[in-house]
């Protein structure tokens, strides 16, 4: 290979590296530009309630899903029998394969009619929708949280477990008194990353809230991702007002994500969030 060809390849490699870095940055730049374009025009949609609702739903879902994922990781890696561990890992792998689109639809099929048949048919019943959305988002957060904590447990040297066991500690004591403090920061990072994941999820949550519309339930204060989807879809010919407003909502959503990722990095920079 000639020096020129080598230099050409290295230069194109560098360009590709910068493209990877600038892909998310350019997304933020574009939506910031779109939001600025419509800043002087009166807003058709208020995003105050959706922002509050998104924070609440995402925080609860991240805590529940992140905690459940961590508990399952501990149970399968440290406490359970190898056969149970295999079953848990297989179930998590299957759960990871279920797209949010299908989870949202399943929520419609399972949670909504069940609640409806239990008598929750008189509006307002927004709490049912919120509970359904939290359930779906928590389920989405479980697999990555499981993988993150499992990865952290893998990084703990075997000698620490052996030393604790040699001191007479049982498996439960090793898990709770030795390993939990060691992977605690990863758990907090997983919850923070779970918040970013849950706050940004739109497909499943939108389907859950649309299910509420079928029952004539109020949709005031639906999650930000849902509002954004609706605003982007409701623009009129040649008028980018709603798209610009959706971009403003997107900026808020992205800022939530950035804060969550910063917090996660503060706890554990090597978290394997896959």
């Amino acid at each position: 290979m000639t020096g020129l060809a080598e230099r050409l390849i290295i230069t194109s490699g560098r360009l590709c590296a910068w493209l990877v870095v600038f892909a998310p940055v350019s997304v933020v730049a574009v939506i910031a530009y779109a939001a600025m374009e419509v800043r002087d025009r009166p807003a058709d949609i208020s995003y105050v309630a959706p922002i509050a609702m998104t924070v609440v739903i995402a925080a609860v879902a991240a805590a529940v899903g992140g905690g459940l994922g961590a508990a399952l990781a501990f149970a399968s890696a440290e406490l359970g029998q190898p056969r149970l561990a295999r079953v848990v890992r297989m179930c998590i792998a299957v759960l990871r394969s279920v797209p949010p689109l299908v989870l949202g639809w399943l929520a419609w099929l399972i949670i909504m009619p069940t609640t409806y048949s239990l008598g929750a048919k008189t509006p307002p019943q927004t709490w049912v929708l919120v509970a359904a959305a939290i359930t779906v988002l928590a389920v989405l957060v479980v697999p990555p949280s499981f993988a993150a904590v499992l990865h952290a447990l893998d990084r703990v040297p075997e000698e620490i477990r052996a030393a604790a066991a040699a001191s007479g500690a049982s498996r439960v004591q090793v898990a709770f008194q030795v390993l939990v403090p060691l992977v605690e920061r990863t758990l907090w990072a997983a919850i923070a990353m779970g918040f970013a994941r849950a706050a940004g999820e739109a497909t499943a949550v939108t389907l859950v809230f649309i299910a509420g519309a079928f029952f004539q339930w109020p949709l005031a204060g639906v999650a930000l991702g849902t509002s954004l989807t609706g605003a982007a879809a409701a623009g009129s010919s040649g008028d980018l007002l709603l798209l610009g407003q959706a971009a403003a909502a997107g900026l808020v959503l992205t800022s939530f994500g950035f804060v969550a990722v910063l917090v996660a990095n503060r706890f554990d920079r090597r978290i394997a969030w896959t």
Binding site: A17, A93, L101, L106, S237, D239, L253
Partner: protein, 233 residues
């Protein structure tokens, strides 16, 4: 809400075309970036590419879709496949690149790299034989997982397509993106919203899960058991 006409495979062709275009572009760019970072030739971008996968989680796909809609609306683009490819590329690139960087910087890849460099291998040999041929199974697994994600990515494409349709045609935009021209997942999203009880919606949901499960299983089969897990067992 009107019921969209939905067949069992509506949108499948659009998804196949879109993924067939977006996946090679994404993987080539990600591979080039990862190779440059592994060769420590990327300069200031190195550390940023390493953390790109995690940092990009801050930008949800729905926001990516919004940005693509703005770009498409501003440039007058109306091709469904073009908009879908752009949305998939931007949404999947950082994660794919970060995973490949991690693959090329693993302990085992570094060991191979140092051995080859100590033996006097040329940079071309290191890039092609040490990195690519040595990690070809892992690269294949990353490609399969990225393809699986592209097949089910909905939020980015729905917002991108609906945003463009709303900007150009007016009125209720959702009906402008009719099956079978939209991608499979997008058609399924609108069908689930409009007529969730329909048997065809259930079959399409099963097909989506089966597809992703098969792709994930194939990627696991290709990459094998991770070294760390083997060492612990």
């Amino acid at each position: 809400m009107s019921v969209l006409p939905v067949g069992a495979f509506d949108g499948a062709l659009t998804t196949v075309f879109s993924v067939a275009i977006a996946l090679p572009i994404t993987m080539i760019v990600a591979l080039m970036a990862a190779l440059t970072v592994a060769a420590e030739a990327a300069g200031a971008a190195s550390s940023l590419v390493r953390s790109a996968g995690r940092s990009a989680r801050a930008v949800p796909p729905v926001v990516t879709g919004c940005a693509v809609a703005v770009i498409a609306a501003a440039s007058g683009a109306t091709s469904i496949i073009g908009i879908t490819v752009l949305a998939l590329f931007i949404a999947c690139l950082p994660a794919a690149a970060a995973t490949l960087v991690e693959t090329f910087n693993s302990r085992y890849a570094r060991r191979r790299l140092y051995a080859a460099a100590a033996a006097g291998a040329s940079p071309r040999y290191i890039a092609l034989a040490v990195h690519i041929r040595g990690s070809v199974r892992l690269i294949g697994a990353v490609a399969l997982r990225t393809a699986a994600r592209m097949c089910v990515e909905t939020a980015a494409i729905v917002v991108a397509l609906a945003g463009v349709a709303g900007a150009f045609t007016g009125g209720p935009a959702l009906t402008n993106i009719v099956a079978p021209h939209a991608p499979f997942a997008v058609v399924q999203f609108f069908a689930s919203a409009a007529d969730p009880d329909a048997p065809v919606v259930a079959w399409r949901a099963i097909a989506l899960v089966a597809l992703v499960l098969a792709m994930h299983a194939a990627s696991r089969l290709i990459e094998g058991e991770p070294h760390e897990s083997l060492s612990r067992a």
